[in-house]
Symmetry: C2
Subunit: 128 residues, 2 copies
């Protein structure tokens, strides 16, 4: 094997400044930051757990606190992060505040990723 390049690797020695293909960003920097924020909000096990709970329906802070055995204020803080990234919405009913997933997109996203993560370990015979 000698002509390893039939897919156009970077030139030879200095692959730069003379012909960049149309590899522009498909989304703006702001959208990218919002998306990253969303991912980061979901990227904590305890917060993800809350989202998972809400996947099954609306809950108020004290109910969640009961279910997870965590401090009320801890739950509130976690929900705040999720709310900041628009992953959940809030609704007040008397003394209680009920939280729910923001919309169907969020629910779909969660279901997809949780399913993916629950899949068997996919033992690659060759990969790492």
């Amino acid at each position: 094997m000698m002509q390893e390049s039939d897919r156009s690797p970077p030139s030879e020695t200095t692959p730069h400044s003379h012909a960049d293909p149309p590899r522009r960003a498909s989304v703006g920097a702001a959208a990218l930051a919002r998306a990253a924020g969303l991912f980061r909000a979901a990227g904590d096990p305890s917060r993800l757990r809350l989202l998972e709970l809400l996947l099954q329906g609306e809950l108020c802070v004290s109910e969640i606190s009961e279910l997870t055995s965590d401090d009320l204020s801890t739950i509130s803080q976690r929900l705040r992060v999720l709310r900041t990234e628009h992953l959940v919405i809030r609704r007040r009913e008397g003394k209680h505040v009920f939280y729910a997933l923001a919309d169907g997109h969020v629910a779909d996203l969660l279901r997809a990723v949780l399913a993916h993560a629950s899949e068997p370990a996919t033992t690659h015979p060759d990969g790492d």
Copy 2:
């Protein structure tokens, strides 16, 4: 709209220890941790940018470094995080190492979230 409470809010004073509905976790703790890891890996603007670039095709580290004007080792570190969470895969070809999205699920997930984040701001007239 008056009898707002037909959805069973938490009891009255102390909603606990006597009748918890089937609100068990749908996924195990390990799956939850994997999912959170995945989200966290994608939850950084610079790493998400890399994923976005890879959405358009395989790239080697130096190409990415060129495109983003970041240090080669910085790119490598970022890719390592993505690889640890199985978001990207690696392939060696001579002196170059090419990275690509791990699979279609990842590509779909990215497209979905980036599209969601690019949507108009959804000005809620009543929400917060």
